[in-house]
Structures are given as structure tokens and as C-alpha cells.
Amino acid sequence: MAILRIQDLTKDYFTGFFGKRFRALNQLNLEVEEGEIFGFLGPNGAGKTTTIKILLRIIYPTSGSAWLLDKELNETQQQENIGYMPENPYFYKFLTGFEFLLFYAKLAGLPQADAKKQANKLLDIVGLNHARKVRLSEYSKGMVTRVGIAQALITDPRLLLLDEPMSGLDPIGRREIRDLIIHLKEEKKTIFFCSHILADVELLCNRVAILNKGELIKLGTVDEILAAGRSRYRITIEGLAEDVVERLKQSAEESEAVGSIIHFTTANQEEAQKLTEQASAAGGRILEFRPEQGTLEDYFVREVRS
């Protein structure tokens, strides 16, 4: 069942003195299934944040609509089913972690006692109970991201919109947020997830949409997208004469020399076999012949560039 349905969503901005039209989002159509982690990818300026802002009524669409649980997203009441964490979150630094969550709980309309209970529960979930009385100005970037996710969970929403949650985090911070997202999926939350860190997207997401210049260019499961991408072959050879290496480089896509060992990468199996035969015939010793699956990043870069 689709929890979020976006239909023909378009956003135009008017810039400059003469109000020149710039289309940030063009006729976007998407459906996000309940319980999945949906990756929303695209280079800077692709229209990802614009889409999220429209869903949250921070900006208004030029045309098109979006539905959450079959109700059109133009009512404030619908917001309780959506949690949102912005990119590079900047929150009220003068508040402590607990006060911050209490504030958002009150904005969500929770009575004082429930608000306190919810704030404490969420601090536990995101592992910040030890810092509940510390002001946000003292928080590290990872802690701010975690308290930001806690804020997004304050109404116990069914859909979470996370805009670049890994941005600017160190490997440990990234790992913590990744684990948190996995935990939220287990809690049956639907997560709509924008990120530039494609390794995380590949690891976390069920389905992915790639956006470029306001247009949807690809939509599918991570496996489908990777299968559609090219597989490459990596051959490691030792003991080749220099002139043979130069000759073989012509038929390889990439090559890299480490001492007397040469790594060749070819675009397909046929090329790889041909290169191996030529190397063996020239007296080279084949150390490794390995097919390599393209990564989401490879696919993303190729699609966006093309």
C-alpha cells in the first residue's frame, strides 16, 4: 500500500529583476510504499529538497499534488503523520536536549505530561539520555543529527522525511545514524531518505529514485538498478614485459601498476577473457580474475553525467 503518492508535482521559481522562470521540479510522479526505506537521490539542485519542502508546506507547488494515506497533503492536520529532519539541522542552541524535544512535543499538541514522557522516551531511543540537560550548543554534529531525528519522531509519525541525515558526520556518527534508521524500519516506519552518501543508500534503501535537473530519471529497487548497471571484470597479472603492458592497456578500460603487478579492468567478460589469453601467451602470470558488480555510485555518476 502506498503511504505517499506524488502526482505531477511541479515547482517554478521566478528569479532576478525580470522574474525569469526557473523550473526546479518537473512533473514528478512517485509512490512510496508503507514500511520501506526509499532513497531519493540526485546531485545538488536536482529538486530533492524542493520536493520535501512541498510535502511539508514550507513552499507551495506550482502544480500537481501529493497524498499521504490517501488524503491530500494540504491540511496542517496531516503533519502529525510526517516527521521531518532537515539537512544540516540548526536548532535552538539555547535549549537543552530535553527542552528542545519538549518544545516540539508541545507544538505537536501533546499535553505536558505526555510531552515529557515522549521527550524522555525519544532521548532513550536516540541514545542521548546522558545529554538531556546539556544545551544543544554543546552537542556534536552527530548528537544534533540524533536529536533532530528524535524531533522528527515526536508525533510517532508513519512517514519520516530525512534530508541528508549523514551529511558532515564522521564514520562513527554515520554508523550510529545508519543503525538508528534500521531500528526505525524495524519499528515499521516508512523512511523517505535523501542522501549524497550512496554507499549508505545502497545499504539501507529498498527502492531508489534518481532525480536530475528536476526530472525523475530512474526509479526502481537497488538490485534492479545495480543489475541494469554494467558489471566489470578485474584481472591482476604479474611478470609482463613493458611493451606487453602498453599493448594490453589499449584493450582495458582502466589499468593500475603496483610494482611488477598490473591490475586491468575491462567493461565485459569477452574483453576480459581476450586480455587474459594475451597476457598468458606473453608469459604473464594471472593472479586474479574477478567479476566486479558496479556500485550505485557508479550508476548514479554515469546517469547524471549522461
Binding site: 511539508l56 514550507i58 529532519m85 535552538y92 505537536a108
Partner: protein, 261 residues
């Protein structure tokens, strides 16, 4: 309503936890103490000097607080994008503006209350000075002037930079205190036959606030006639509330369909 109060309280908390708030307050205390020194130098004029200097200091610092906190209020929420999560929490833009406004006004109210209490205390302990009802009335009416200035600051902050908003708010304050002169100019120009300009000034007189009605410094210190006390207690405050409400409505209208980039 709870959402408005939550935003108002958060705005108040932000201002109170800001060091600038305390710097201003300390500065006011020093200046109020300085008025005592002035009073000792002005023989026989102690009462007038303390009250005049005290009320003037409160007026100026109330204005500075309303302006400098007010002009950053909405602008910073947009610049830092904290407004995104607020709107995403299901808060309407009207609730946001009203909450911010009430929070700022609460800050000023508390500030005026502290400064006013201190002034009344100084007047009370000073041997040649007496606490009068007019002193309370002056502080009471000043709050309504601040109500209008705060609404101007929030209005300008919703569509322009803090510097421009501060300049515009100050201009409104100055013109507001000179609005009687606008009427006088309009009359003179009308007599000279420049009906177009006269009508423009006449229109401005009604469009801009008349802040001088809230200024009772001369009434407190020189017993200047202010007309009906009932007007000062009920009518002028009502005027202040209505004027601020209209400014807030304009702010809400400009804010309602706006895209936050």
C-alpha cells in the same frame, strides 16, 4: 492556542538566555543609578530629574530591545531554517507569527517591569521624591507604545534584513512621535494652497501611529495636561492594541503564501 504559547515561551526563553538581554539590563541599572547622581547636583529638582531621567532611560532601552530583538526574530528563523521544522510540526504560519510576537512582547513586558520596579524603588527611597500614580500610568502606557513598535519590528523582519528592519522600525518610531507635526504641516500647506501635499500628509497622519499619546514623561515631571485620564487608561491602550493587531494581520498576510527558500 497551546502552539502559540509554546512558540511565545520559546521566544522569551531565547531572549532571556541571550547575553545581550543582560548587558542591556545592567546598562539600564547603571544609568538609573546615574540619575541619582544627577539629582544630587540639581538642587530642589531631585524629584523631576530622577523621574525624567528614569522614564527616558526605560523608553530608550525598551525601544532598543524591541527593535534589536524584534528585527532578528523572524529573519533568523528563516535564515537558520529553524522555521522548516516548526512549520513541518503542523504549526500554521499565523500561529508562528502571533507566537513570535507574543514572545517578544513578553520579553519587553518583563524588562519594563524590572526597570519600572527599580525606578519606583529609587523614587521611593529618595528623600525629596514621591511615588505618584502618574508614574505608574506612564509605565503602563509605555507598554502599549512598545506593543506597536514590536509589531513594526516583526512586520519588517518578515520580509527584509535585520539592518533595514531596524532602520525602518526607528523611522516609524520617530515619525510616530512627530505625527502631530504632520497634521500641523498639512494644515499650513492647505492654507498655502498645496492641497495635494497637504492631503498626502493628512493621510500619513492617519496611517502612521500617533506614539506621542503614550508619552507621559512631561505629565509626570511637569504636570503637563494630558486631557481625560479615562482616555489614557482605556482609549489609548485600545488604540495601541488595534494598531498592533492591524500590523500583525499585514505580517500574516505577507507571510501566508510565502515560499521559504
Amino acid at each position: 492556542m497551546n502552539k502559540i504559547f509554546a512558540i511565545a515561551l520559546n521566544t522569551y526563553k531565547e531572549a532571556v538566555r541571550n547575553k545581550v538581554f543582560y548587558i542591556i539590563l545592567v546598562f539600564v541599572l547603571v544609568l538609573l543609578a546615574f540619575s541619582l547622581i544627577l539629582a544630587t547636583l540639581a538642587l530642589g529638582e531631585d524629584d523631576r530629574i530622577i523621574k525624567h531621567a528614569g522614564l527616558s532611560v526605560i523608553n530608550i532601552f525598551g525601544l532598543l530591545l524591541a527593535t534589536f530583538v524584534g528585527v532578528n526574530l523572524v529573519y533568523e528563523e528563516m535564515e537558520r531554517r529553524t522555521i522548516y521544522t516548526i512549520i513541518a510540526s503542523g504549526v500554521t504560519r499565523t500561529q508562528f507569527i502571533v507566537g513570535k510576537y507574543l514572545g517578544l512582547f513578553l520579553t519587553i513586558f518583563v524588562n519594563v517591569l524590572i526597570m519600572g520596579t527599580l525606578l519606583i524603588f529609587l523614587v521611593g527611597i529618595w528623600h525629596n521624591s514621591t511615588i505618584t500614580v502618574s508614574l505608574f500610568l506612564a509605565l503602563y502606557l509605555f507598554l502599549f507604545e512598545m506593543m506597536i513598535i514590536t509589531a513594526f519590528a516583526v512586520l519588517f523582519s518578515s520580509f527584509s534584513t535585520p539592518v533595514l528592519s531596524a532602520v525602518l522600525t526607528f523611522m516609524c518610531w520617530i515619525i510616530g512621535h512627530l505625527s502631530e507635526d504632520l497634521l500641523e504641516w498639512s494644515r499650513r500647506l492647505f492654507e498655502q494652497g498645496s492641497t495635494g501635499t497637504a492631503n498626502l500628509l493628512y493621510g500619513l497622519y492617519y496611517a502612521l501611529p500617533n506614539l506621542e499619546i503614550f508619552n507621559l514623561v512631561n505629565y509626570v515631571t511637569n504636570q503637563e495636561d494630558i486631557g481625560s485620564i479615562l482616555n489614557a487608561v482605556f482609549l489609548y491602550p485600545l488604540y495601541g492594541i488595534l494598531y498592533a493587531a492591524i500590523l500583525l494581520m499585514i505580517t500574516i498576510l505577507t507571510f501566508e503564501r510565502r515560499d521559504f527558500k
